[in-house]
């Protein structure tokens, strides 16, 4: 320990900037890890709290997917002896001038045994009889900041209606869910206003004392039949968890990469430090320090700097989590329609512990080889002036051999890549091979660059190239780090590009109606529905050629919420014919249109292992729908996957003929704007109705996609940042390492400008080598990324498309970054006292 204070601390203090830069990779890696997971967790925790608040005393919820079910189910549930209280619920999201509001339609008579909103206490509801008698009554949270009898306008299925606040809930419990953006309404009034007919979304149940959850579930299942889910309220969070899991996985990959890159930066710094501190090590050895002591010294140094970097990363990550939490919270709108805000950031101790272990271990691993080198410093040579120990040829040869072995193994894994563990092992091996080959490759590239540099500036160019060639230990770590970051950028960019390409292609074919009639500005909001009869009205409007009725609902299939799209499949096959990825296109549309099969999206098939011919069981209120998958198409409508079903089948099994979206095709020559106007004139006043043009919808899809890739851009920024830090670090180290050499250069007549140019050229050369290797590894990495996306993330084969434009942008960015990174070290190289530089060691 004392050695740390006497030996390491003065060194670290002297090279403070470098020490800080060294840990930058760790800081960023840990920050992304902690930030993303903390944000995720905080939002999830807040969400679960919201679920609890909304659920109140509810022990079980009975539901049948989004379409809900008929009222008669309620009596069946209430007749179950084990049930203490059962209350029907309708949920809907409405836009008001105060932002989105979650409306909970409940049975005001019976619901109070489940939820405590103090209907009676303290005159929070002015008059219960009036509340019930008037369908425009709302019970709102005090947090919403409105007074009793205030009027809140809302767009309903019956046009614009004004609601009256007839009760105020005190804060706490239910009233605090979604920060108070919640209102309670009588369920029967809500049915009418949201166009739900005589249907409920779900029934909340509390069991008699002494009845276990399992008993309750069994009895209720028996009572309501197989088309219903009977679950505790907490399972409500599963859908969001599925989404957040993808984000967590993506951010884990970024963290690992950042840490990996950080590892190379640390390795680089320590390798240089060992060279620089050779004489010091020699003295210590001469004074009686054992090899173990030297090794421990270096490892402890790296552990401590890793720990400091980790702690900084944790702090940074928590700060980041605050910003990210809002972003992730927005994604929750998918579930409730109201953004979930995390009031406080929940920092999990195990997460911090994991981060610390990760950071410190990464740092330790990075220091293993340099520490070993330090322990084996020959004291005799170390104490002689001006002599260097160079990296043995043997080590290089061994590395190359290992690299070749990795390449071969990775190639083998590729052949067997049907097995997931082998596939991932192959991925790791490929990256490992690249890392092992980096020193040799960068040496080779430096040699190749030598004539180019020499041509640019004979003296400086040669000097710069030679410095790279002679100091492989100095550059290889940086090049490896740069290569990894660039590979990450290329793969992320490629992933984004491929995704946009595929989505554009899908939109071109499948999203080709001229107009869309929806109940909300966003196509995915499903709180309101239209009656099917509206379709007949639309068909009569002049200029409209064809109207497709679409009902999309989330239903549990294979225990995950999947989007079932019920529509006129024959018409869909004619108008927006997606080619079958598996199965015959012709037959697929024919069978599905006849109600004899389902068209599955590729991601559904992939994520749930479904194949053509497999019979899926979809629970519905009128029994279980059993239909085979007749074809698989590349469809981007839903993250969890989608199933296209004939509308007749849906109406029959769900007893629900309502519609979310009308897809409208115009007659040739008809004017979209005027038809849109006609629709709005005919129905806009009496119905809650929006008409979106094709462009509106495409923009919406692109916007959603952008939101999804938002995180990717953050990752790219992190990767570029780490890469630039790597270059700065390498150059700072390299200059310090060569002060004497530079001193000699100046002593024998090198001009300051020449030395500056040398440093700049060296930096640019490192950048160029990193670019070449990064682009190469990026091509490999992209392949694996596309595969991972296909296998485990989105389940869609988005295709391989090398992001040339990204590469073209990256090249000048990295070269410029390298150049700017070289300015400060270049200045310090020419500023230092010549005498001191020569004496240095």
């Amino acid at each position: 320990m004392i050695l740390l204070r006497l030996i390491s601390w003065p060194y670290a203090r002297k090279h403070l900037l470098r020490t800080l830069l060294t840990t930058a990779g760790i800081v960023l890696g840990v920050a992304v890890f902690v930030g993303m997971h903390t944000a995720n967790q905080s939002v999830l925790a807040a969400f679960h709290q919201t679920i609890d608040r909304i659920a109140g005393q509810t022990q079980l919820q009975i539901s049948a997917g989004e379409p809900g079910f008929e009222e008669s189910v309620l009596e069946k549930v209430q007749n179950v002896a084990e049930v203490r209280a059962a209350s029907p619920v309708i949920e809907a999201t409405v836009q008001t001038d105060r932002g989105n509001l979650l409306i909970l339609g409940v049975d005001m008579l019976g619901d109070r045994s489940l939820r405590t909103y103090d209907l009676e206490g303290d005159a929070s509801i002015d008059d219960p009889l009036v509340f019930l008698a008037q369908p425009d009554s709302l019970l709102v949270s005090q947090n919403l900041g409105v007074k009793l009898n205030a009027r809140i306008p809302m767009r309903t299925m019956e046009g614009e209606r004004t609601f009256v606040v007839r009760g105020i809930m005190k804060p706490g419990g239910l009233a605090s869910a979604f920060g108070g953006n919640l209102a309670i309404m009588d369920i029967y009034a809500a049915q009418k206003i949201f166009g739900r007919g005589r249907r409920f979304d779900r029934i909340d149940v509390a069991l008699q004392d002494g009845v276990s959850l399992d008993q309750g579930i069994a009895k209720l299942r028996a009572a309501v039949g197989p088309g219903f889910q009977v679950e505790p309220p907490s399972s409500r969070g599963e859908q969001f968890e599925a989404t957040s899991r993808i984000y967590a996985l993506a951010s884990n990959i970024t963290s690992v990469f950042a840490l990996f890159i950080g590892m190379f930066i640390i390795y680089n710094t320590f390798a240089i430090a060992v060279t620089q501190r050779r004489s010091e090590i020699g003295i210590l050895r001469a004074l009686g320090a054992t090899r173990g002591q030297i090794r421990t010294l270096f490892l402890t140094e790296s552990a401590i700097s890793g720990l400091i970097g980790t702690l900084a990363g944790v702090v940074f990550g928590i700060v980041m989590a605050r910003a990210m939490a809002g972003y992730i919270g927005g994604l929750l709108e998918e579930v409730y329609g109201v953004a979930q805000t995390a009031d406080s950031i929940q920092v999990e101790p195990w997460l911090i512990a994991t981060a610390i272990v990760m950071g410190v271990v990464t740092s330790l691993i990075a220091a293993v080889i340099p520490a070993r080198a330090a322990a084996y410093v020959d004291p005799v040579k170390a104490l002689q002036k001006g002599r260097y120990q160079s990296l043995g040829e043997g080590e290089n040869r061994m590395r190359r051999r290992w690299a070749m072995a990795c390449v071969v193994a990775a190639a083998l894994a590729l052949v067997l890549n049907r097995y997931t563990p082998i596939f991932y092992a192959g991925y790791v091996l490929a990256v490992l091979a690249a890392v092992l080959m980096a020193p040799a490759a960068s040496l080779w590239l430096a040699r190749a660059l030598r004539p180019v540099l020499a041509k640019l500036r004979p003296v400086e160019g040669t000097l710069a190239a030679d410095s790279l060639i002679q100091g492989p230990r100095r550059t290889s770590g940086t090049v490896a780090a740069l290569m990894l970051s660039l590979a990450l950028v290329i793969s992320l960019g490629g992933l984004a590009r491929s995704s946009y390409n595929s989505i554009a292609e899908w939109m071109r074919i499948a999203l080709n109606p001229d107009l869309f009639v929806t109940t909300a500005e966003s196509v995915t909001a499903r709180s309101f529905v239209f009656p099917a009869s509206l379709g007949d009205g639309l068909r009569k409007i002049d200029g409209i050629d064809e109207v497709q009725l679409v009902r999309s609902v989330r239903v549990l299939v294979k225990n995950t919420p999947v989007m079932v799209v019920a529509t006129d499949v024959a018409s869909l096959g004619r108008r927006g014919r997606l080619p079958a990825v598996e199965g015959s296109t012709e037959e697929m549309y024919r069978e599905a249109a006849a109600g004899r099969g389902l068209i599955a999206s590729e991601n559904f098939a992939r994520l749930h292992g479904a194949r053509v011919g497999e019979v899926l069981e979809i629970p519905a209120p009128e029994g279980v729908v059993k239909l085979p998958v007749v074809g698989i198409v590349r469809d981007f409508s839903d993250q969890q996957g989608s199933l296209v079903m004939a509308r007749d089948v849906f109406v029959k099994y769900w007893h629900d003929d309502s519609v979310n979206v009308f897809r409208i095709y115009l007659k040739p020559g008809a004017n979209g704007a005027s038809v849109r106007q006609k629709i709005l004139e005919a129905y806009g006043n009496q119905q809650r109705l929006f008409v979106l043009t094709n462009a509106d919808l495409r923009n919406y899809v692109i916007r959603v996609t952008d939101q999804w890739f938002g995180l990717t851009y953050v990752q790219i920024a992190v990767a570029v940042l780490v890469a630039v830090l790597g270059i700065v670090n390498a150059l700072t180290v390299s200059i310090t390492d060569r002060r004497r050499e530079i001193g000699v250069l100046r002593a024998v007549g090198g001009m300051r400008q020449q030395i500056r140019h040398t440093v700049w050229m060296e930096a640019s050369a490192i950048g160029a080598i990193g670019l070449v290797l990064g682009f190469a590894l990026g091509a490999v990495q992209l392949y694996y990324s596309v595969e991972i996306a296909r296998r485990d993330l989105i389940g869609i084969d988005i295709g391989y498309a090398y992001p040339l434009s990204t590469a073209l942008v990256l090249a000048p960015v990295i070269l410029a970054a390298a150049f700017f990174a070289a300015i400060a070290p270049g200045e310090s190289a020419v500023r230092g006292s010549l005498v001191e530089a020569l004496e240095y060691e």
Partner: protein, 224 residues
Amino acid sequence: MIHLRGVFKQFDGKRKVTALEGVNLSIESGEMVSIIGPSGSGKSTLLNLIGGLDRPTEGEIEIDGSLLAKLDDDGLTRVRRDKIGFIFQFFNLLPTLTCLENVSLPLHLRGWPRKKIEERAKELLSLVQLGARMDHLPDELSGGERQRVAIARALSVYPPILLADEPTGNLDTSTGVEILRLIRDLHERLGATVLIVTHDLAVADSCRRTIHIRDGHVFQDVRR
């Protein structure tokens, strides 16, 4: 105290260099010996071998009863740590540490308790008449003073053997004389065995015994 039997040392490089060719040498406890010879004669190599910093290609070295060949690196380090003090031409002080810290360093490596280290380091610094400059950094000292700090450091555990490699080579003549006097004084007071490698004849002559090395052989062994 120190016995070398048929010691050969070759350096592998682009061409093989033989630094020592069959050196036999015995130095008894309490002797003060100078080793002299031209540049490249192998005298520094000899000192490094005796100090356990390096191993011979062939032959046996025995230090205070331990056969170095039989020891692993840690054993060698232990011999070095407990029996040998080094004094270098370029002092090899750590520039970031104060005199006191530099002197304390070997004791820290031995894991001594802090308090004892401080006592000993202060004692040693006053022994080399630097009691007043304990908190100075090496940069703030003159060459002679730096060498005295290095000597204090070499003496930290009062090792039975003191090895000095050109201790006056980097000093002006009068300071060199002063340092030599200090070494002799310590040799007499502490009874340590002292080996001084030098090419300064004046230094060599001040020792009772002088060993001349030339081309890797003991060319002459003079006792006065």
